[in-house]
Every structure is written in C-alpha cells, then in structure tokens.
C-alpha cells in the first residue's frame, strides 16, 4: 500500500485522538472529583494548626504540657513540640537555640549561652514548632512497611506495633519532627493530640498556652478560627520548597526562621 503524506498525517491525527479521548475520560470521571460534586467541598475534614509567633513569649508551657500528655519520658531529649528562640544581632548574625526543647521555658537572655547586650540585638522572637501534618508527607512516602500513615482527616500517625525502626521517616522529615520513642524504640511524633481532638477537645499544647499562640481547627469549616485566620490573614508555612504542603500555618514568620 502506498501512503501519501496527507494520509499519514490523517491517520496519525486519528490515532492520537483515538488514544487521548478515552484516556481523558479517566481524568474527567475521577472518583474524587465526582464525590466532590455529590458532597459539598466544605464537608471535607482536614485538621490544620495555626501558630501566631507574634504572641509567643517563650514560656515553654506547650512543650511541657506535650511531654506530660504523651508517654515520652519527661527528661529524655526528644520533643514532639518545641520552641525555638531567634536573636538577630546588628552584625547580621543570627543566634538560634532551644534549650531542652524549651520545656523548662526561656528564663535568661543567654542564647547559646552567650551574654548579649540589649543594644546589640536588632530583633528577637520565639517560634514554636511541631509536626506539620503535611498533605504530602515525605515520612509516609518512605516508610517501607506502611507503619506510618495519614488519616482521612489529615493527621499523620505511627503504628507502634508495626514500625521496624529503620529511621527512614526520621531522616526524610524536613522539620525533624520525628525521633525514636525512648521506651518503645519506634518512630514517634506529634499526633495533633488525636486522642483529644477527635473528642472535641483542644490539643494539650494549645490548652497550655496562655497567650493564644497555638490553635487547632478544621479547614473548610466556616466556624473554625483556624480556617478564618488562614483564609483572611497573611500566613506562611515552614520550608515550602520541599513540596510537602505542611498544614501548620504561621503568622509573623521571618525569613531567618529555619
């Protein structure tokens, strides 16, 4: 059979269309997308957290409360949540510290044990940190046995009975929110106090905060303060460049924050 250029182009176009159209049907009739037509979008449950760094005084009660709420030995140097202190000097130098994860609070003007004069400091502030319960958690991605998982409402948890303790998730967390549980020897992390929030309670850290720094709530819920803040104010997340889509939103974040 002789094939002219015109015929070749025609047949080529036909076969491309013939392949693309059936495949694109898969894109149109995505189960998720269909479900969102049936249920209004706002029904999707997704926990999120807001940290207002402008209000944080560095008392460390949140870190303390977290330790008391969880079963992690109080004096072991690992933290589900911690507070960092940032001090910038006139020289441009930034000093960061978080003595004992701040569970005893910041009680002296001595970042990294250095004596600083007030006139040398240009700015200083506290940044509470916790697991960011990412939308695309890299820790969950790399767990070889599926022991860590994201719940339907967006909380990342660890199955203590299944974790093999390889540490891949710990290495893969950009925020170092994970560590080995000193007693159970499995990966451990902040759970957004899942045992509390699912019962309508607050997280231990936000209950302990006297200054209203920490807030937990649901996204897409018009009554939720967290949702209001995220949708109406200027919020930022930590290390967005990793593509994890973290769900702890910060008010008053500075670019010196690591």
């Amino acid at each position: 059979m002789e094939l002219t250029r015109r015929q070749l182009l025609k047949m080529g176009l036909l076969s491309v269309c013939g392949t693309v159209i059936p495949i694109s049907a898969l894109e149109i009739f995505k189960p998720d997308a269909l479900a969102s037509l049936v249920h209004p979008f706002s029904k999707k449950k997704r926990w999120a957290f807001v940290v207002d760094t402008t209000k944080c005084m560095g008392c460390g009660m949140c870190a303390k409360a977290c330790k008391l709420e969880s079963d992690i030995p109080f004096d072991t140097e690992v933290q589900r949540t911690w507070v960092e202190r940032y001090v910038q000097l006139k020289t441009g130098e930034v000093i960061i510290d978080s003595p004992r994860g701040a569970r005893y609070g910041f009680t002296a003007n001595d970042p990294q044990g250095r004596e600083l004069k007030d006139e040398d400091v240009t700015k200083g502030f506290f940044v509470p940190k916790l697991c960011n319960h990412c939308e695309k958690p890299s820790c969950v991605q790399v767990c070889p046995v599926g022991a860590t998982y994201k719940t339907d409402d967006g909380v990342v948890l660890v199955d203590r009975k299944w974790c093999i303790g390889c540490g891949y998730c710990i290495t893969n967390c950009p925020y170092f929110a994970r560590f080995f549980h000193p007693i159970y020897n499995v990966a451990d992390k902040c759970t957004f106090c899942y045992q509390r929030i699912t019962k309508g309670l607050n997280t231990a850290c936000s209950d302990a905060c006297a200054f209203g720094v920490r807030k937990i709530g649901k996204l897409y819920d018009p009554d939720s303060e967290v949702f209001k803040i995220i949708t109406t104010q200027r919020v930022a997340v930590l290390k967005p460049e990793f593509g994890n889509e973290p769900h702890v939103f910060y008010l008053g974040l500075d670019d010196i924050v690591k």
Partner: protein, 404 residues
Amino acid sequence: MEAIQAHGALWSLKEMYTYPNEYIYWTIHIVIYPYITGLVAGAFVLSSLYHVFGKEELKPVSRFALLFSFALLLIAPSPLLFHLTQPQRSIHIMMTPHFYSAIAAFTIVYMTYMAIVLAEIWFVFRPFIVGQALEKKGILGLIYKVMTLGSYDVSEHALHVDEKITKILAFVGIPAAGLLHGYVGFIFGSVKTVPLWKTPLMPFIFLMSAIISGVAVCIFTYLIVMFVSRRFICKNTIRSMCKVLSLFLVIAFLLEGIDLVFHAYTAEESWGILSEVIFERFGFEVIFIQWIMGMIVPMIMLMLPNVGLPRAFIASTLVLIGVFMMRWDVVIGGQSMSRSLAGFLTYKIPIIPNSIEAFKEGPIPVVILLSAPFILLFIFNKVLPVFNDITSEEDCYATPEKPS
C-alpha cells in the same frame, strides 16, 4: 532517677543550633551496608566479564569472584538487622511492602539477585558437584548429592546447555547487580532533606564505586589467598582485573567530581554549610583518603605500564579503603550538617560496649560483619574449591573444568 537517653544521643555531639530531635540516626551499620552490597555487585560483574564477554584472562578468577559475591550477598543485609531498632519485625517489609518507599523494594531486588547468583553457581559447578557426589562418601558425599538436586547428567550436550544458561544468567545478572546497588544509591539520593545525598547521580555514583570496590576486593583476596597458599598467580589475570579497575575508577572519579562541581556551581542555600562539611570537617576523610589515596593514587598506579603484583595489591587495598571512606563520608557526612543549616553534629562511635545499644552500634559487630564474608568464602571453598592449582602462565586459561 537518671533520664532515659534518646536513641542517637549516645554517639551524636551537637554544635550550634540543631533541632531538638536531631541526632545521627543512620550510623556505622548504614555505612557498611552499602559497602558490602557494593562488593557483591563488583565481584559479580567481574565474574560476568568472563562468562558474558568471554574475557579469557579472567577465567582463573571468575569462579572465585562468583562464589565470593555469594558469600558477600549472604552478609549484605545483616548490618540492617543491627541497625533496626525492631529487628524482629524486619519480616514486615515482606508482609506489607509499601512500594512508594525505596527500602520496600529490597526484598524483591535482593531475592531476584540471590536467585540469579545461586542458579549461576549451581550451573557453573554442576560437573564438579556431580563428580564429587559420585566419588565422595559420608556426610560430604551426602552434601554433594543434595547439591546435585537429582541431576546427574554431565553429557556433552547437557554441559553445553549449562554453559548457555550460565551465559544468560551472567548476562541478566549484570543489570540485576546494577539494580541492586543502584537501588541502594537511590535510597540515599531520594532523601530530599539531606543536601549531600539529594542528587540524581547518586545511584550511578554508588554503582561505580561498588564496581571498583568489588573488583578491588577480588584482587586483594585473590592475591592474599594465592600468596599464602603458595600457588602460582596468573599475572595476565591480575593485569586484566587492574585494567577493569582503572577503567571504572576513572568513571567513578568523574561522576563524583561532577556531582561536587554541580553543588558548588549552583551554590544553593545549603552550599555554605555543605562546603564546610566537605572541605573542613571531613576534609581529611574526603579529600585525602577518599579522593587522593582512594582514587587518584591508585588510578595513577594502575595506569602506569607493567603493573606488577605488589602494585596491584597496594592499589586495590587503597581503593577498598577509599570506597569505605566514601560510604562513611556520604552517610555520616550527610547527617553531620544540621537540617536547620545552622549547626553540626559529630559522630562518635561508642567504643565501650557498656549497654546493648552501645554494643550494637559499636565496632565489634562491624568487625564481625566485615570479616564474615571471608569466613564464609573459606567454608564455601571447602565444598566448592575455587582456587586452582596452576603452575605456569599457559595453564591459566587451560584450567580444567573440574578444579583439583
């Protein structure tokens, strides 16, 4: 009451600002795991060069390299058992593999490779096994009888088929070996939080260093065994191995070089602290041991004409040390820079085994694990001898199928 120490606090020293949970979690066992796996891949590639590409000069070492790669392969996953905090659960990787994770593929990659190596060994040694099964009595005879798997056909036709299958297995084995080690490189390369590891070149860097270390360990072991047992050493064989080694050394060097140049040239946010780790904190390890002594010096030694046995021995030993150092620098160096990019961690291997954890993470298991493949090779060699008695250079390539 004394507080329970955090996992990792025993061997990590923190400097400046590191996150509270930040310790060196991947320690010495994660250094020797890719090291041993690399030796497996390299040794196998060496044996395949004879079987697939018909490099006759390598005939005297092809069986040895094959059996040695099996001995190494058996030990390769053991460092992981020391590393896991829940080693008794390691079976979970097979029960609920989560295939988004690079580690989850381990079972499949490892088992596939194991099957290929085992099958190849069986086909290569079949005539010998059958001969011994018919000859030997007692327990040893029984072992050989089991090893024949009931196949006693050593007719010319059967041997010809064996040879063909061996060739196919050796051929399939090369990409499998590449996959095994490239995959180990992927485990590191895909960790996006560690700037030193995050590069798509990582699988290839690991693969090339695997091949050089595997060839080097074969030269090293072969020379020692032949020298100690006062056997004749085929110079052409050693020279050929050295040629392979030098070729891959060049590729490995270029790959590692281009990786560093890229890090430096693109100079992302992490480069400041990364360059401090590479050139200052790990300067001696990286520049002197890994690059100069582990790559450049052996490269020059092997490329100069008339490579003799002493030079081959020294060069291969240097390569072995250099590659070990490279694994160390990658694993420990990568974690020694804080994820906050504002501090450092120093790794101090716990020498005194005053607790289970200190013992587990200390040098004793390392010595045991690194010497285990040699012990296994010694045992295997009793059953399947791989070191031939040769008296002259001409004999090297005319060795009988049945080793004496």
